[in-house]
Amino acid sequence: MQQTETTVTGARTFPPLGPKTNSIQQVRYVCAIGAMHSASAIPWVIPITHCGPGCAEKQFGSLAMCNGFQGGGYGGGAVVPSTNISESEVVFGGENRLRELIRASLKILDAELFVVVTGCIPDLVGDDAAAVVREFQDEGVPIVLAETGGFKGTNFTGHELITRAIIDQYVGDYAGERTPGVVNVWSLLPYHNTFWQGDLSEIKRVLEGGGLKVNILFGHESEGIPEWKRIPQAQFNLVLSPWLGVQTAQHLENKYGQPFLHLPAIPIGADETSSFLRTVVKFAGIDPAPAEEFIRKEELTYYHYLEGFGEFYSEYFWGMPAKFVVIGESAYALALTRFLINDLGLMPGGQFITENPPEEYHEAIRREFQTIASDVVTDVAFEEDSHRIHTLIRQSDFGQKPPIILGTTWERDLAKEMRSAIVEVGFPASYELVLSRTNVGYRGAIALLEKIYTTVVSGTA
């Protein structure tokens, strides 16, 4: 794998680094079984894990605790059943053990749907987990299977496997009418994106403000399984991310003839959010009047606060960073970069896409960054290994002031070294407590300004 030269701003070019290797130091995504969090992110759904004894705990400790201290919720964390595979299941197979665990889970746990996920071991020794799960499905038990062996993909691709498993094995066929004005939203990866709960709430609020009825599907604002059952009845699917969810939407298009709207950039700030809402409302073909009224009110509030911010932004005495670096998964990296360039007038100092998106989406993602603004040249680097990312940043020249770093816990040492302000906006954010906070839409943009500039100001004296 030869590293391509990475340009960052118009003026600067990163010097070539040695070739990429397989090594990943300081992980920024996990394996497919980590997507068990997409199951527990649906109200009253509990994953059942068929894997080694540490897999479930490790994914939980990493994604849900040391990442915003979000907590496991109803059916996640230490609640999650696991076969805790031992040597005998490796040698003799683990199907009986899985069957036994599912039966016991039905007795002990109260869930509207169980999602069985598999780890490396059953996928290597060849357990027929599908056959075991089918036995329960035949009995009418609400249960589905997603084969998420760790070597098969990331928690992003695992998310689509789980989503698809629920649609195909539980939601099932549908040939009825679709309800105008109803939208299914496919956006941020639950738990991995530290702010997913607050962000999905804000996205839902904005869409509802425009007169749409929203199946948000993940998080406490979803109705849970009844909402998933209604997926086929929605008028259309909205994919709000550069690539995650596109496969799901394509599948739904094939399966139910349901159209989809793909908007790669999650909106942050009034300009983006108002324009986002207008686009969706237009696609839905519903009356634009409620949306316009909503936009008017939201912008009043937004610009009220922005005016206050403007006083600070224009005359704060002690200097302000001019550049920023973003290191994160593509959805957030794109959304944040757009906002910081277009709304704040900051200069990009490096954008790193770290979730290893499937190769076929790279070009489209790159294009999104390149077309953010006509007067600013931006590009992205697809890098997963933090050692490489940090080396590239260290080699950069940021001019007279260090950039703001919007990144993760892995950048704390680097920020200290560079005297940069660091805002932990993605996995892992081990020094942030995140409950309902959002960085997107109207409200999130204001909260994001507060966070970024509190960090900047509190680091000054």
Binding site: E57, A78, N84, V90
Partner: protein, 501 residues
């Protein structure tokens, strides 16, 4: 039961010690069944630990694996690198143990930094064709990036199954790089309890790092611990002894000089058993054969044994007397403040025995405890280390004493049995349930918090602090739904589905 350093693979806890992960009864009964201090080991004790009746059931929740303990030990050595030879998912632990490493460094007043763990990031084709090329690449990357003093390799379930020759690669690269390259065999499925991961790390360190021709340092004492506050240096100063903290936050040189020490101690036999016994057997460094340093009798005996081995009896007696006098008044006050309070201890095995002792020193009732596993014996086989017998003999029985490897579904029933005012925990996963039931928890992230004489005071103060959180937890409890079915919650017996084998 000799420790065998000839093979690269450590013998698991269940093989060496007869470790169990599910049991329910009285502490006195478990102590009796363990046949440790209670009986002469000539009767009925086999070569490999003791055979205890273990329970097994159909329902289990996610446990913890040996590889995680390797991450938290070998991955927290300051000038080494740990390679995780695995698909990327095992790398999730990097986040958890980084958080621990950073905060541990801060507690110890060392420069805070990220840990150095590298995943070989194995993919589907590697499962077919093998992953040793990637392993060797990552070892070379580790060398180029950090020039570490040692490189550890953690195996994974996947590499164990596909049979990668990790030992061969390690040998090859060790020759090439001129530093120890140490394979640690820690496949999660190989042991039912994660503490085997401690042993795997310690096994590799003894095989490849500890100095073979030591120059003795008569005032140096190995302290096998994690990342806790340095409470040992002030204590050892009184005895003219110096501390060598291992394994977490140590340097490779600290590990190498373990063979030069005058003695080895630990804060918890679960963690220190293998290394301390190995150092004695292979390098002649005596392990302090005493109860753990918790509560007055335990700390007294521990200090006296340490003093005997290092020939500092007079200093120790003076220190013991001074400390008893110093802590007595506040402990008397704390006993008043904590009168009538009930506590529940759910931590690792030997550690729980120590913590229960401290709670009883404080006059707190402890009618229940859950330990994540039970070792019927430790590697030394010395009855003076029988921590459970020490607890029962000095502080009385614990009526509800359960072994359960962090099974939250059983924890509900265990709490109902004894209705504690607070719980004490070390691993995650149980306090969230207690909180939803209105019960506050004291998480002992600093494992030295309750150690020694001052530890009795520390724990008492912490309990007062967390009891005041009760308001929060009770409010929460009134507003949450548990994921367990009513049928299960109504069962009196948390071990209903679990049967003896």
């Amino acid at each position: 039961m000799r420790i065998n350093l000839d093979t690269p693979v450590v013998e698991s806890r269940e093989q060496r010690l007869g470790t169990i992960i599910a049991w329910d009864g009285k502490a006195s009964e478990l102590s009796k069944q363990s046949e440790y201090a209670r009986k002469s080991c000539s009767s009925g004790c086999g070569e490999k630990g003791r055979r205890l009746c273990e329970m097994k059931g159909p329902f289990t929740q996610g446990s913890v694996c040996s590889e995680q303990m390797v991450e938290c030990q070998a991955g927290n050595i300051r000038d080494a690198v740990l390679i995780q030879h695995s698909p990327i998912g095992c790398g999730a632990g990097q986040v958890i143990y980084n958080s621990i490493y950073r905060n541990g460094l801060a507690m110890r007043n060392l420069p805070v930094e990220n840990l150095r763990l590298i995943s070989t990031n194995l993919k589907e084709q590697d499962m077919v064709f093998g992953g040793v090329d990637k392993l060797e690449q990552s070892i070379r990357d580790a060398w180029e990036r950090h020039h570490p003093k040692a490189i550890f390799i953690a195996t994974s379930c996947a590499t164990g199954i596909i049979g990668d020759d990790v030992d061969g690669s390690a040998r090859k690269l060790e020759g090439e790089l001129g530093i120890p390259v140490i394979p640690l065999h820690c496949e999660g499925f190989m042991s039912k309890h994660w503490s085997t991961g401690f042993d795997a790390t310690q096994h590799g360190i003894m095989r490849q790092i500890v100095r073979r021709n030591p120059t003795k340092q008569e005032d140096l004492v190995n302290v096998i611990n994690l990342w806790g506050t340095d409470v040992f240096t002030p204590m050892f100063k009184e005895l003219n002894l110096r501390v060598n903290f291992v394994v977490d936050l140590a340097t490779v040189e600290d590990l190498a000089q373990m063979s030069e020490a005058a003695a080895t101690v630990g804060f918890c036999h679960t963690l220190s058993s293998y290394l301390a016994a190995g150092l004695e057997q292979e390098f002649g460094v005596p392990e302090i054969k005493a109860p753990q340093p918790y509560g007055f009798p335990g700390t007294d005996a521990w200090l006296r044994e340490l003093a005997k081995v290092t020939h500092r009896e007079e200093l120790a007696e003076a220190y013991i007397a001074k400390e008893h006098a110093r802590v007595a008044p506040r402990i008397a006050e704390l006993r008043e403040l904590l009168k009538g309070k009930k506590g529940f201890v759910s931590t690792g095995s030997a550690y729980a025995h120590g913590i229960i002792a401290v709670l009883r020193e404080l006059g707190v009732e402890v009618d229940g405890s859950l330990v994540f596993h039970h070792d019927p014996i430790y590697d030394s086989e010395d009855p003076r280390q029988d921590t459970l017998a020490h607890l029962v003999d000095n502080y009385g029985d614990v009526p509800s004493f359960s072994v359960s490897n962090r099974q939250q579904y059983q924890f509900y029933g265990l709490l109902q049995r004894v209705k504690p005012d607070f719980i004490i925990i070390r691993h995650n996963g149980l306090a969230p349930l207690a909180s939803r039931l209105g019960i506050p928890a004291a998480p002992l992230g600093d494992e030295h918090h309750a150690l020694g004489y001052q530890g009795i005071i520390n724990l008492g103060e912490t309990i007062l602090e967390i009891l005041s959180h009760k308001k929060f937890h009770e409010d929460l409890a009134a507003h949450v739904t548990l994921p367990y079915k009513k049928w299960w919650l109504d069962q009196g017996d948390p071990f209903l589905l679990v049967k003896g084998e």
